[in-house]
Each structure stands twice: as C-alpha cells, then as structure tokens.
C-alpha cells in the first residue's frame, strides 16, 4: 500500500460512472482507468502483495446487462468505493491477521453448558464454517471492513452531534436519543420484568389520548415501561409523552435526559397543548405519594393529585385510558421514609428499603418481578360542554371515577397473580 502511494503521483480515473459523472477512483498504475472502468483486467490488479482485495472481474460497461448483473455491478462499485474510502482514511493501515483456531476454541468453551448432542452439532457446524470460509482471507477482510465501516458510522454520528447538527422538536424530544436508549428499556421490558400487556386496542392509533397510570416502585421505572410497551408493541408505535414532576428539571442530567426522551414537565398548560397536538400523553396522578409508597401500602392508590389531568382531558375532549401496572410495587421494598434525609439531600422523599442505603449502589437495582400492564376501556370526555374544566364538582367526580376503575383493575390482576416473580 505504502509502496503504491510513494512510487507515482496518483491520477483520477478517466471513466464515467453510471450517473454520467466522472469517476472518483484513482487510476491504476500505468493506466488511465481504475480497475472498475478497465475493459481488460490487468495482471497487476489480481495480485496484491499485502493481501489487498480483488473483488472479481468487473463487467465491461459497453455490454448489455441484465438487471441482476447491474445490481451486482453497482454493489461491487459501492464496496470498492467504501474500501477506497477506508484506505484513504487510514493509508498505512494493514488489517491484523486473524486466527480462526482461537475462535473455534472459544466456541468449544461456550458450548460446554449445553447438552451433548447439541454441543457436538454446533461444534461440527462451526468447524465446517471455519474450514470452508474462515481460512479464506477474504471473509475476514470483508468482516474487518464491515466493522470498520460501522465504527466510522458511529463516529460520524458523534462528530455530527458534537458539531451541533441534530434536530429536536419544540418540547426537546430527540428521536436519535430515544432510539439510543431503547435497547436498555427494551431489555428491562422484555427480559428483566417480562412485562405482559393487555388492552393495546384501547390506545388510539393517531388521535389524542390520556393514559392514566398508577405510580409505584420508588424509582419511576413504570413510566419507562409503559412508554416502551407502546413504542415497541403497539401497532402504530406511538411515543408516549409522560408528564413528570417539577422537581426533576432541577436535577442535572435527569432534566435533559427526560426532555430528550420526549417527556414533559407536568402542568395543565403543557398537557393541554400536547393533547391539542393529538399526542398520546401519560400521567401518573399519584405523584410522589404514589411512587414513594411504603411496602405495606402497596397497591393502595394514593390521592389523585388535584385533578389537573381531568382538566387537560376536559379542555381537549381526549379520552382517558385507565391503566393498571402490577409488579412495580415489589421492585424495591421500602420500609420507611426519612424526612430528615430527604431534607438534607433535597430529594422529594428518601426511602429506606431492605437494600438501600445499606448496600449502596446495589440498592438501586430493582428486583426482577413479573410485570403486568393493563390498558382499560377508555372513558370518553368529548360529550361534556366546553368550559367543563372549571366545574370542580365534575372534575373531582371524574377523578374519583378514574381512580376507582384503576383500583379495580389492579385488584383483578392481583387476584389472578400467583407469584410476584413468575406471574
């Protein structure tokens, strides 16, 4: 590679690409065309001393090509371009040698836990693959370039974001960020809490809706799980805009984390505006009283705030979707709330649980309970006259109605549940 660059000054290929643009590849030594646009492949290109690629004989452009061949040709062109881009980025780079035997050994170690017949089957296949493909250096070159390309791609994203080139919506939602944290939420949702969800049909596909949930579990994992459930498993994959308490914006990182994740500070103005934009809004009207519940009070709903969520629904005619989350209460076993420590640390509440603060950071890991999320029958609010939001009698009546429905849904689910950890 280095010899090539030093011997002659490189010239650009004189050929034209499919789009009638001048080719950006370098011409081969002693030629005016690159190896793509060459009509007869020279002997030099097929052999490279440093294990350089040879991507097959290019098909001459003058010939009539079938669509399949065209496609293959274009793919080849792209791969060559990619390889050249990588070569220009790291001119002195030579891929390190790989040892397929080491991988085989690693596979052997991995399969020891499996039953004998399965293990032998896997090993046989691995042997076969390695014998046929792995000793072919081109396989590894291809893999290496793929990895390189991936790293380059990720670096480009980071570089772009550092240059300030990314988009957020008017609430601060950054979809790239949501997609970046989704694997973690997905892991918690599917494999850690093994959440089973019912009632997806009650969530509107495109129109506004107010998802009202019970709140529990010391750390607000329940909000994340409801969001993940709708984002991953609902047919229209909507992003739930949960409303959070005004304490969170005062905490560094948490504030921008929530904002980028599409969550919004809880107040009637924000909720009403979101619903007017036909968004799906999630609220946890119990607030701190709910999330900081002691273990002995589990699944007993606290007071439902001041009915602000009902006002949002009445202002916009959005249906209220009562939602019961069961399983979150047992993730931490809080036995006492320390007012003194809460005041010292500035937290809204300071739980003393069986593991926190005794075990330090270990106390933050939730117990792997089995979760159930049930979306209930929507309560329509669009038949109330405008201005009903100021009718405090109606607001408190609807608040109590919603609360009773959710309490009933929780009780139903609890009656069906046999085990906290296995459902």
């Amino acid at each position: 590679m280095s010899e090539q660059t030093t011997t002659t000054t490189k010239q650009l290929c004189q050929g034209l690409t499919k789009a009638d643009k001048p080719c950006r590849n370098y011409a081969l030594a002693d030629d005016t065309y690159c190896h793509l646009h060459q009509t007869t492949p020279s002997a030099e290109t097929t052999h490279h001393p440093n294990g350089q690629h040879d991507l097959g004989t290019p098909i001459p452009l003058e010939q009539e090509l079938t669509p399949e061949e065209m496609f293959r040709h274009r793919l080849q062109e792209e791969v060559v371009e990619l390889v050249q881009r990588l070569n220009t980025l790291t001119p002195s780079f030579v891929p390190p040698p790989f040892r397929p035997e080491a991988i085989l050994g690693y596979t052997e170690k991995l399969v020891t836990g499996l039953p004998r017949h399965q293990a032998t089957d896997i090993l046989q296949r691995a042997n076969q693959i390695i014998r046929e493909d792995a000793f072919d250096p081109e396989t590894w070159q291809g893999l290496w370039y793929l990895i390189n390309y991936n790293v380059q791609y990720q670096l480009d994203i980071i570089k772009r974001r550092f240059a300030g080139d990314y988009e957020v919506d008017e609430w601060g939602l950054d979809l790239e960020f949501v997609n970046a944290i989704m694997p973690f939420l997905n892991f918690m949702y599917r494999y850690y809490f093994r959440t089973s969800v019912t009632g997806f049909e009650h969530i509107p596909d495109y129109t506004r809706g107010l998802v009202v949930c019970n709140h529990s579990g010391q750390l607000p994992f329940d909000g994340g799980m409801v969001m993940t459930a709708i984002y991953q498993d609902h047919p229209s994959q909507r992003l739930l805009r949960s409303l959070y308490a005004s304490w969170f914006p005062t905490v560094p990182f948490i504030s921008s984390f929530l904002e980028k994740g599409g969550q919004v500070m809880a107040c009637v103005e924000n909720g009403t505006r979101l619903l007017e934009q036909d968004q799906l809004v999630g609220v946890f009207p119990e607030g701190y009283k709910g999330v900081g519940k002691l273990f002995k009070d589990r699944y007993k709903l606290a007071r439902f705030g001041r009915g602000g969520f009902i006002k949002m629904a009445l202002n916009t005619g959005a249906p209220i979707i009562p939602t019961a989350i069961v399983g979150a209460e047992e993730t931490y076993i809080s036995v006492y709330k320390s007012d003194l420590l809460a005041r010292v640390t500035g937290f809204p509440y300071f739980p003393i649980s069986l593991r926190f603060p005794w075990l330090g950071l270990l106390g933050f890991i939730p117990l792997p309970t089995k979760w159930f999320i049930d979306f209930g029958e929507p309560i329509p609010t669009d038949h109330y006259p405008t201005g009903s939001a100021d009718n405090m009698v109606l607001v408190s009546q609807l608040t109590n109605q919603t609360r009773n429905i959710i309490q009933e849904m929780i009780n139903d689910r609890l009656a069906q549940r046999r085990s906290v950890f296995f459902g």
């Binding site: 240059a163 008017e170 609430w171 914006p249 921008s256 904002e259 924000n270």
Partner: protein
C-alpha cells in the same frame, strides 16, 4: 393606518432606537421624531431629532406641540449591574414617559421588553403564556428593571384601557450580526460556562424581525402583550456547538457558589455570564401562539437561519486572521448588497 401619523421614538442614540427610526423614515405616511439625551452617532435621514432627556418635565408640552399620536419607548440601559442611575432612567423614566403620554393625549404606546421577565424556573410550563406571572431573576439589573417597567406598564394599560393602546412586545433572545444583546455576548465569547447536565431549549429572534415587530406594532393597532420569537428552538449546547464555542460545564452548586463568592472581586464571574445562571439551567420559552393568531406579522427568519447568518458574519476564522480573508469581506459585501436591495424593494 392613519395618514400622517406622528411617531415619537425615545432612545434614538442607542441601537434599537436608531434601527426603528431608520426603518420608519421609509414609511411615507409617518413623520418620525426622535429624542435622546445623546446625539445619534449617525444622522438618520428624515428623522427630526430633538436632544432632550425622557425625564424632562416639559415632555408633555413637546408631545402636545408636535401632536404625537404614537410613542415607541425604547430607552433602556441594558446593564447587568444594578445602579441607582439605571433605575432612575429605566423605571422612573418609563413612568414619566407613560404619564406624559396620557397627559398629552397620545393614542398608542409601544414598549419593548424581553422574555427574560418570565424568569427561568423548574416549574415553568414549556411555553410561557403572556398571562404568566413575571418571576424573572432579580440578580441582574436589566431583568429586575424590566420587570418593574412591565408591571407598571400592565397596571397602566389596565387602568387607562379606554384612553390608550399599549402594546408590549416581549422579544426572545435577539441574535444578529449587528445587535449587542446578552445572547450575542454569550455566543461571541470563545469560552462559555455552562451548567453540567442542563441543556435548556433557547428561543431566538433575528434582529431584523425584532425591528419589524416593533414597526408593525407602531403602524397597526395590536393592543396587549405579545411574545415574539422564532418557532424553532435550539438546545443551548447545540447552539454553542453550532457557533463553535467551547463550553465549560460546571457542577451547578459550585457555579452558584462561585458566582456568589467571587462577585465584586477582580475575577468578575458575571463578565462571562451575560445571562444569569438560572437562564442556562431551566427552560424559558415564550408561547408564540398569540403572536401567530393576533399579531398579524410573520417572522422572516427561523432560529437556525438566524444562527447560520450569525456564524457567517460574526464567527468564522479567528479574529486576527479573519480580516485578511477575502471570503469574509465578500460575505459582508453580499450582505450589505442584500440589505440595500431589500430597502429599495420597500
């Protein structure tokens, strides 16, 4: 719009007064009067300049004699430090101007304010409506006096609603190649302290749009308070990275403590903070729904356009080399040409 409307602009020696006056002189139906205690640095063609202070007790007589029907009050000292003289000019001066307007039978007053009067608080709604209480930080003089001016103006306009039209424009962070505002100061300094883990959305407004909004309020009758700002919002860190500022994140308790401790020492922590720390921590975005529905003017620039223009004309290569580059002068020439063409169109 009435024919031969007489408009008096206060503070024409300052940037905003000069810009608004220069723009108004191009409206044929309007006679423009300008007052200030200092003479403007550049003569504004077509404007009658009267050198006087807004606190002069004979202002009523002047308004009456010239038959002024609209006053655009732009005199305001935008300084971080609180001082008795600034209070006297900003707050007492406004009271005197408003009082004189009512005495002289002026029909309309246009007041320039800013969205920083809302203050940055964790419990702010994402879009602050015009009816929201003014809870701005009292730490810096300009916000403190602006709140006092606004509170007086709201009370005044409520009290004399049937005699006068009062339009208050709460302008978002103004950014542009020529204006000097807290936001442009923040973006122009090479190093900006930020608070670690906080990244609030910033609302911007192009300086030309700010001038147009003031002129629109002078020419049309739009009583009330309006938030004026672009509809796209940029996170603070994105903003700083777009203009290639180096941001120095500081843990927030340390930053607050440091500013409180070092105030008054030669280190001058406020010098690096044109906006108070709270404004770099929480969100303070004005709701522009009322502007879209009732104000009747469309902004020309989005926030991204504003910043891109700002980068082109103000940032670019380092200061020493910048003036040697042909591209830099070319951009300025093009920009001035565009401005001239726009002027001719109007």
């Amino acid at each position: 719009m009435t024919k031969s409307q007489v408009v008096l602009i206060t503070g024409v020696a300052d940037y905003w007064g000069a810009r608004v006056a220069a723009r108004l002189t191009r409206v044929p139906e309007v006679r423009v009067l300008g007052i200030d205690s200092n003479a403007p640095r550049q003569k504004i063609e077509g404007m009658d300049f009267i050198q006087t202070d807004i606190r002069n007790p004979l202002l009523v007589a002047l308004l009456k004699a010239e038959q002024v029907d609209t006053v655009c009050h732009l005199t305001f000292n935008e300084r971080r430090r609180k001082s008795e003289s600034d209070f006297d000019l900003n707050v007492m001066g406004t009271m005197k101007v408003f009082g004189a307007c009512r005495e002289a039978g002026v029909r309309k007053i246009v007041l320039k304010s800013s969205t920083d009067v809302y203050g940055a608080h964790p419990d702010n709604p994402a879009f602050l409506p015009e009816t929201w209480p003014l809870r701005g930080s009292k730490q810096y003089g300009y916000t403190r006096y602006r709140i006092e001016v606004e509170e007086f103006a709201q009370g005044f306009s409520k009290q004399f609603a049937d005699e006068l039209v009062v339009t208050t424009l709460r302008l978002a962070n103004i950014v542009g190649p020529t204006a000097v505002t807290p936001m442009t100061k923040l973006l122009s300094q090479p190093v900006t302290p930020t608070l670690l883990g906080f990244n609030p959305l910033m609302q911007l407004l192009h300086e030309d749009d700010a001038v147009e909004a003031l002129v629109h309020a002078i020419l049309e009758d739009v009583p009330g308070v309006f938030n004026i700002g672009a509809d796209d919002y940029l996170p603070l860190l994105r903003l700083l990275r777009m203009v290639r500022n180096v941001d120095v994140p500081i843990v927030h308790p340390l930053a607050y403590w440091g500013v409180a401790m070092l105030r008054g020492t030669p280190l001058k922590p406020e010098a690096y903070l044109p906006l108070a720390l709270d404004y770099l921590r929480y969100r303070w975005v004005g709701d522009t729904q009322k502007m879209a529905a009732e104000f009747g003017m469309e902004l020309k620039y989005t926030a991204v356009d504003t910043i891109e223009e700002f980068i082109k004309l103000k940032k670019g290569p380092p200061r020493a080399r910048r003036f040697l580059e042909a591209d830099y002068l070319r951009q300025i020439i093009d920009y001035r040409q565009q401005q001239r063409e726009r002027m001719n169109d109007e």
